[in-house]
Amino acid sequence: MGLYLFRRLYQAIIVFLVVSGIVFSILHISGDPLALLMPPDAPPSDVEEMRKTLGLDKPLIIQYALFLKNAAQGNLGVSYHHGQPALKLVLERLPASLELVVTTIIISLILALPIGVLAASRRGSMIDRVSLLGSLIGISAPPFWIGIAFIFIFSVELQWLPSSGRGTWAHLVLPATSLALYRLALFIRLIRAGMLDVMTMDFIRTARSKGVSEKKVIYKHALKNTLIPFVTIAGMQMGSLLAGAIVTEKVFAWPGMGRLFLEAIGVMDFPVIIAWALVTATIFLTLNFIVDIIYVYLDPRIRHEK
């Protein structure tokens, strides 16, 4: 078990190094950073001096090492546009993004569990067919377009809910539900398929032949075993939602990290772009690692592996 977790941690560190390498190259592939930092009419001697003070005259590999060292100290540079530390700007926007992502995951889990279980236990019934068709539509509709359709129906036409901004729960309803539809559909399909697989296992037949009631078979034996692999997928979805929520944040003018990132792209504010990518990757990798730990506790086969 310790070895398993160690391997996962080691892998996460490698991924982080790769991401930071890609992100670091954003600064250099996209042109000389000094061209953006200095006014165009600055004398060449000033430019050279600035190059020295920023360490940009050193070889790339040393610059990368410096970048990593600064990143480890939480220093990702100062935003060109806002004049504040980039990491601070991103972290200030983090709670808003997390609020959206967590609500989305909760909505999709609460709805997907009963629907998926019902569909699988009454295979071929009306519920099953409707949920299959509904989830097909759900995974085929682009989330940002669903958000736009929701705004038109509920904000422009009916005027029930606000279309932008953050504050009350009413602001959260439209972005969270439009973002949740895709995950909801995905989760329903996964739970249904997982349940159908588990229901054919030997231990289910054993439970049935022991005379365990069908309800208990479904909820105690089948559902529990379905949820073990599902935890991994739900955890990874939460991480990728953080990046995927960008579009929804744009549509609903939600003041999260994603919108900060889009604004930063618009004005070529590279420190903020880098800080966004590193924070997102870190959260994603941490979540994956937590999911691994949970998985070890849920699945005795891994726990007892030497």
Binding site: I22, W145, A149
Partner: protein, 317 residues
């Protein structure tokens, strides 16, 4: 199953054996044409989806002849025209026009072109890269296997959209740039799938026999390994194409995909969104509906392909 007497087969059929669905396809290639055709003809939804997909592909190919107006032409006297059934609608603009007087229907028709182009090309490129690397990883073992598989792990442990966004920031907008970026983000699953297939058959007698007969590694890789990997690769492609099409629309909607003067569905939705609050819903809703129709058709076919071709789950259909 066919060797069993009929009575036993029907007895088994009453309680179908549904083995757990494998994440990889560790099984040999079983010619499945008969089952394929049968399940195809019995599934009306798939037939409808295929017919619609063929129709959409046809429309995309012959876009210049089908589209009523040039999609990029800005007809200023016809700005924000509602669809034709509205009393303010005008004749060539069947689904209305956007803020700049561009025809929504023509933009959708040309946008389908971009979506399908990006979907097929980038999935095709990632398939070629992934299949070659997967074959090498499964066949060569040793250093190259662990190197390729570590790269696969790195690729799969990051959110797709984040990787795509970072690359688009580095390289800038562009149709072919995006096709390449999306291809780079998609190769890993192919490599993993193909390696799984190769590992499952590399110790088989007929592969050893081929070795003994003196066939070279490339012949064995292509004639034995690749043939066995065709089915899972086909299923994976069917799942990947709608994903890539959605990602293209998302990136273009954010302004990080194709250039602004390209008739892409994502860009059309973005332009329509700007006039949504003035009540002009058609400019954003119709392009999205078209995209959804395209993606849903491919998803239906992908679901059916997976159920029909993936040997472990065939009994579930």
């Amino acid at each position: 199953m066919s060797v069993l007497p009929r009575t036993i087969t029907t007895a088994i059929a009453k309680e179908p054996y549904n083995p757990p669905r494998a994440r990889f396809w560790f099984f040999e290639y079983i010619p499945a044409e008969r089952q394929l055709l049968h399940s195809f003809l019995t599934n009306k939804l798939v037939l409808v989806a295929l017919a619609m997909l063929i129709g959409l592909v046809f429309i995309a190919i012959f876009a210049p002849w089908i589209a009523p107006v040039d999609p990029l032409e800005q007809i200023l006297r016809a700005r924000l025209k509602p669809p034709i059934w509205d009393e303010r609608g005008a004749s060539p603009f069947y689904l209305g026009t956007d803020r700049l007087g561009r025809d929504v229907l023509s933009n959708i028709i040309f946008g389908l072109r971009i979506s399908l182009l990006v979907g097929f090309f980038s999935v095709g490129i990632s398939m070629i890269i992934g299949v070659i690397l997967g074959l090498i990883a499964g066949y060569a073992r040793g250093f190259w296997e662990s190197f390729i598989m570590r790269a696969v792990d790195v690729q799969l442990s990051l959110p797709l959209i984040m990787v795509a966004l970072c690359f688009m920031v580095i390289f800038g907008q562009g149709l072919w740039k995006m096709i390449i970026v999306l291809a780079i983000t998609g190769w890993a699953e192919y490599a993993r799938t193909v390696r799984g297939t190769v590992l499952s058959i590399r110790e088989k007698e007929y592969v050893e026999a081929a070795h003994a007969l003196g066939f070279g590694p490339w012949t064995i890789m292509v004639k034995y390994m690749l043939i066995n990997a065709i089915t899972p690769v086909l299923v994976l492609s069917a799942v990947q194409i709608p994903r890539v099409i959605m990602l293209e629309a998302t990136l273009s909607f954010l302004g990080l995909g194709v250039p602004v003067n390209t008739p892409s569905i994502g860009l059309a939705i973005a332009r329509g969104y700007q006039v949504l609050f003035s009540g002009s819903w058609w400019a954003s809703i119709f392009p999205g509906l078209a995209l959804m129709l395209l993606v849903a058709c491919i998803n239906i076919i992908a679901d059916w392909l997976r159920d029909a071709l993936e040997p472990r789950s065939r009994e579930q259909v």
